[in-house]
């Protein structure tokens, strides 16, 4: 099949960027979307033109490195599918596609379709963890975990940190990403001691990074390739509100002896 692509080209963060048009003949239906871009890039290099920059690594839908808007939809808008797992059999001859990077103030463009998502790392660094120094853990079976809780924790933990939720959100909120981590750890007994601190720290960091507030539109859930549910946002809001109400300054300065 033959496709027409309109691709956002931007040399670097300072450049203004604009759309370029490319004709891509000879696309095979078994190719993945990124393989189609590989083919185009090979042709561009042969012509002496700068290939299109896009992030990717595992190409198995698990590392979260890939991501772009296809015709305004994050990852192309196919249920549970990252763009690296999207195959050309979903498109047809003559299709015209518009490829753009994630657009959000907290995700500045690096080049073309590649953006900087370090803000996500900083949110995790603020509180998205359980503090357990290496070597200090009790036996793995010491605390039984209800199967349902383990399963719900796993559902939320499946987030790959791709940023599609932010890109799909009209407010550029990161509530689904943040909620997924809060919900994952809140479902486990091991996550309880830091539950309040975690919700406060992560949500405050999210605000500092310039992600706007969630207004419950739900585009994120539809765009999420790992099908993270909106209920994680409800859970993290509840945790945040409870934590904010009960927040106390730390006591006990210093220790005994």
């Amino acid at each position: 099949m033959k496709l027409t692509l309109h691709v956002w080209r931007q040399k670097n963060a300072q450049d203004r960027g604009r759309m370029f048009r490319y004709e891509v003949p000879g696309v095979n239906e078994h190719m993945s979307f990124l393989e189609m871009l590989d083919v185009l890039n090979e042709r561009l290099i042969e012509k002496g033109e700068d290939p299109i920059a896009f992030d990717h690594d595992c190409r198995e839908g698990i590392c979260g490195m890939c991501g772009m808007m296809i015709n305004g939809k994050a990852h192309g808008g196919f249920k549970g599918t990252t763009v690296c797992q999207l195959h050309m059999r979903h498109f047809k001859d003559g299709d015209e596609l518009y490829l753009e990077p994630w657009r959000a103030a907290a995700f500045p463009v690096i080049k073309d379709l590649a953006v900087n998502r370090s803000s996500f790392d900083r949110i995790i660094a603020a509180g998205g963890f359980i503090s357990v120094p290496t070597g200090s853990a009790p036996d793995g079976n010491a605390i039984p975990v209800r199967k349902l809780d383990a399963d719900l924790a796993m559902d939320a933990a499946a987030c790959i940190g791709c940023g599609a939720c932010v890109a799909a959100c009209p407010n550029s909120a990161a509530a689904l990403f943040v909620g997924a981590k809060i919900s994952h750890l809140a479902h486990l007994p091991q996550g309880q001691p830091e539950r309040d601190r975690r919700a406060l720290a992560m949500i405050r960091q999210m605000n500092r990074e310039g992600f706007a507030n969630c207004s419950n539109i739900g585009e994120c859930e539809a765009a999420c390739p790992k099908e993270i549910k909106l209920e994680v946002i409800a859970q993290s809001n509840a945790d945040y509100i409870k934590a904010a109400f009960t927040e106390r300054p730390e006591t006990a300065i210093g220790g005994a002896g």
Binding site: P51, D57, A137, G140, P144, R146, Q190
Partner: protein, 637 residues
Amino acid sequence: MELTSNAPAGPIEKSWETHKFGLKLVNPANKRKHKIIVVGSGLAGGAAAASLGELGYNVHCFCFQDSPRRAHSIAAQGGINAAKNYHNDGDSVYRLFYDTVKGGDFRSREANVYRLAQVSVNIIDQCVAQGVPFAREYGGLLDNRSFGGAQVSRTFYARGQTGQQLLLGAYQALERQIGLGAVKMYPRTEMLDVIVSDGKARGIVTRSLTDGKVDVHFGDAVVLATGGYGNVYYLSTNAKGCNATAIWRAYKRGALLANPCYTQIHPTCIPVAGDYQSKLTLMSESLRNDGRIWVPQQPGDKRNPASIPEGERDYYLERRYPSFGNLVPRDIASRAAKAECDAGHGVGPTGLGVYLDFSDAIKRLGKHKIAERYGNLFEMYDRITGENPYEVPMRIYPAIHYTMGGLWVDYNLMSTIPGLFVLGEANFSDHGANRLGASALMQGLADGYFIIPYTIGNYLANTKSETYSEDAPAAKDAVANVTAITQKLLNANGKRTVDSYHRELGKIVWEYCGMARNAAGLKKAIGMIDELREDFWKNVRVLGANEEFNQSLEKAGRVADFFELGELMCLDALNRNESCGGHFREEYQTPEGEALRDDANFSYVAAWGFQGQGRPPSLTKEPLAFNYVKPSQRSYK
């Protein structure tokens, strides 16, 4: 050069305990003064950086992806082994040790493997405490499954995303240390050389992948945890960015590289579909718990699988290996699939495929149970092939998946360059000539959480810290080397793309140094690689400049190293006149077509040393002794 493993003598059960006690400690107040460089943020590097930061060292950690959470460990599906014996089915540290030494076809160092089996139990505890959502039973306890090469159930898993969940655990621990200021993280930064001064590793040279800036980072010790080199084959189950550059540049600075020809071919991957293909996708080994592998008895039988009656199918693994059946180790399962396809029984459009069939398991357990176990893998298969494995059997074929070879390390995980430590898939330790399923995750985390924190302290306590300036000759030399390689690639200004070279190189290595090898083919491959490499340096086209986000330039540097590594793999394979594990030399096989080892002549680690461009490498042998598990012809019948 003499290679001393530094593995302690005495009873193996006590080795690690005794050794740890003999290691010097760094005073807590002094730890912050020691700067440690960790290259890599996968299970091995992430766990190491987090643990060392926690101990109080000043840690600087590097990765080429945009976040440490994306290291290739994230893609591991099946699970992680641990000798917990939670199921009372006869597992023990000794049995895990035994299975791993045997699975590695008696080409690994016993003391290392024993230690790995010992610390495996702590790994599970650590991960549970971090919030890794392992699969649970209704009683709330941890669930297990079986993997190839074992007759006990010792594999812990988190759906089909075990690597992801373990890595997120390590990543979160690492981010915590970053937030506390104990670790400084450099994402999108590629290490391109090691600085060696007075014979010791003293730092690295990096290039920023966003703006091309070349920087020097000094440290009192350097830890490489940069993963495997499977992408030398171009098509592999590795992520696209996986590369050998870090270990290769260390090799060129004097670190010995061990057993490069030991590569693992995974039996269950989705077959190649076309020449635009950019990578191969693994279908987890865990599928062999419930899936049955078969081919039509009649060569060239093109009927659809459902209409081939039971009596006309050959469940060849169950037939040839009745006691392990579909769960034989990977090397054996892969060769058996190749043999069936070579004999014309292969299925699918290319004839390079065998069936992995779940219909019996679905009948026995119900679709729901199968979906719970493998749901995401089935979906992934469907997404890629457009076929639904609940209804038609999967088609699978072997593909390169893991590399057992790597930089040589002693019992302390230190390479032959003092101060340069190597962890995870990047080193050669523990798996011998074949790795058993679910043991790479175990090794990466063992190295990072439980071994390096002890052994690096001993090195630092015994070594004087020194301050360097960027004008130090070793640093200037390394920077000049990095800049020269970049310039040479940009200046070649030829006609062919980097990928086209990589693809061609991969085909050569797969054909002659893949599932089956022979002397004539290996010699031929060395000549072909040589020729192609020469052409590459003259004729490659890398557009753009160094001072920008330049993905072709990144790739070009990696491919340049793959050429040299590919040649060394062939040389190593040619030297090893025996078959063992993943290294199958057609000249050396039993009448039944099984690998035929030569313990009298080849019970050693082959460690290669760089002797200058264009000169043959040196070969140093570390003899292997087996005091516990007596080498025997592996039998899984």
